[in-house]
């Protein structure tokens, strides 16, 4: 039963971190670059919706870390990392599929994401060393 709880928290962490990454990308493309921050402040040309989404993204990201820690109470670290690699595919597929992102599918990008996921699963397919990182930010 605790295993099911661990899986639930891990999938919650995957969903939250994916939403956080997409939200941060959406909003950062609508905010000025660092060299234009002073101009934007003095002219008042700041998109407050985008600013709010950045903050919400950071909050969702922090919440995903919390879910991750709760998942680790019931799941071995290696299993949890393999599950986390689902978020790479999720973010790539959603950024390509959702209309707001304009990030087209290509063969080489898809292959790159697939290789990365295969690599992470291979690294964690046996008892992994305790030093494996939480893949942040």
């Amino acid at each position: 039963m605790s295993r099911a709880k661990g899986l639930t928290f891990a999938m919650g962490s995957v969903a939250l971190v994916s939403a956080a990454q997409l939200g941060m990308r959406w909003s950062m493309t609508r905010l000025p670059e660092p060299s234009q921050w002073l101009d934007a402040l003095s002219s008042g040309g700041i998109d407050y919706v985008a600013l709010g989404v950045v903050l919400a993204g950071i909050f969702a990201y922090a919440l995903s870390m919390l879910c991750w820690l709760l998942a680790l109470r019931d799941l071995p670290l290696s299993r949890a990392y393999s599950l986390l690699s689902i978020s790479y595919a999720l973010v790539y597929l959603l950024a390509a599929g959702l209309p707001w992102f304009h990030e087209p599918f290509t063969l080489s990008k898809s292959l790159g994401v697939a290789l990365v996921i295969l690599g992470v699963i291979t690294i964690n397919s046996r008892s992994a060393p305790a030093t494996s990182p939480r893949n942040t930010p």
């Binding site: 978020s87 992102f101 990008k109 790159g112 295969l118 690599g119 893949n135 930010p137």
Partner: protein
């Protein structure tokens, strides 16, 4: 430039992970109160690097597609494996190295879209 920022974000995150490890180990060696724990330099280094890493990451997302940049963060697995091997002298088996090679191949492929 985007790739340099991405590497910087990875490096800062990795530094944060290592500092966390040192913080936890120093608490284990010397049992202390919560207040003393908060005075650990390693803890503050960990928080500082993770926070700065997040800020750098936001700048990466301003310049790169998230569908490309986010999977490239798996470079952290490579960095931490190298640190575990060369700094902490941990044994890394062949399957683990194979996974590291796969991650590097995937990241190289993705970096062409940076």
């Amino acid at each position: 430039m985007s790739l340099l920022l991405l590497l910087l974000a990875c490096g800062l995150t990795c530094l944060g992970q290592v500092a966390q490890k040192f913080a936890v180990e120093s608490w284990r060696d010397r049992p202390s109160s919560a207040l003393q724990k908060l005075r650990s330099g390693w803890l503050w280094l960990a928080l500082f690097s993770l926070g700065l890493g997040l800020l750098v990451w936001l700048l990466v997302l301003q310049r790169m597609e998230v569908g490309v940049a986010y999977p490239m963060l798996s470079l952290n697995f490579v960095l931490v494996t190298l640190i575990a091997h060369f700094v902490f002298r941990e044994h890394i088996d062949r399957r683990h190295w194979l996974g590291v090679a796969l991650v590097i191949a995937g990241v190289l492929l993705l970096s062409r879209h940076a």
